[in-house]
Amino acid sequence: MTPRQKVFATLVALAFIVIIVELVRRRKLRIEYSWIWLITASMIMTVVWRYDWLEALTAAIGAVLPTTTLFIGSTLVLMFLTLHLSLRVSQLTSQVKNLTQEAALLRYELSQKKGESRDSPAPPAREPPPPG
């Protein structure tokens, strides 16, 4: 790796870390989503300063060029990232579903209590569930 390449890659990684930290500081990004980006930036940094590790890894996985290892690595990181986001979206979908249903039912109860619609039927008593 030429010194020029090293400086460029280091700057990119540093800029990335600064941006992530700043986003967390401004509360645009939550801490639980920031670690994965910080790890990515650290990985770039590691590869720049310990190029021999990258070469060792390249030999270990049977690749010829270190660039191949880099491509594989970055693809894997991106896949992991999108999977992580899909998991969060799934979790949020269930939470939004439950909140939506609860909001709809509470709004119904509230409108019944307020007696907004005189034409609507008397609300069923919120009675304790029958046995069995």
Binding site: R30, E32, L87, R88, Q91, S94, Q95, V96, K97, N98, T100, Q101, E102, A103, A104, L105, R107, Y108, S117, D119, S120, P121, P123, P124, A125, R126, E127, P128, P129, P130, P131, G132
Partner: protein, 257 residues
Amino acid sequence: MNSRHDTVVIIPARNEAAFIGRVLHTLRDQHPDADIVVVNDYSTDRTAEIARAFGVHVVDLPLHGGYGVTIQTGIKFALRFGYRHAVTFDADGQHDAAEIETILGPCRRGETDLCVGSRYLHGGYPTGWIKRCGVWLFGALARLFIGKPVTDPTSGFKAFNRRAMRLYAADNLPDRFPDADAIIMAHRAGLRIGEVPVRMFPPPDDDPMHGGVKAVYYAFNMLFSIAMTVLRRDRINLEEERPAEASERAGRIGAAP
């Protein structure tokens, strides 16, 4: 229908202004004492307004949830207000109000927990070949896993007792299209499932849920959902919660990983 507050008819509705008036009119005519709740899935037309004019309960979802979420909201309504039985009934006029007692019968007599109204059990219902393939496939899968025939796995005309309602209100319910997968899940949770023949009318427009590209999506979704239902070992509590447990559960929010 007998005593008030024993049974509620749940009508999921999204943009059904053209049909819901006639459906509610027929229901009111044939079951004047029935409790009816229309769960309005964020309609952009006059669905909710028309329903309110009939003096039925109307629950408005604050955003578009889809069929499964709408049905589940109705089930949660029935559980919350202490109904012993619930019937799900389509808003587009496919289901026959005169058959409500038919599907409620087995639940009332304590023979089943969940009773599905089947339009195919006695034949004669006109169906396109795509839907017929789907009905055969998912019916066969349901039969494989629950050990008895399910002739109409996509029927939305179902009767529930409280145990069945608890299953359909559970977080684990496949809430996209709770059809054959939900029936298999109900069986695995220990519910008794029955099927009775009912008369149904052809849908006014081709069933939007099961046609064209959506049919392929539905089939994939359902096959995968059935496979997952069979692989999971869900434990769903079908017994009544004590109020303390209910409030504790409501206060819990999913933690971040």
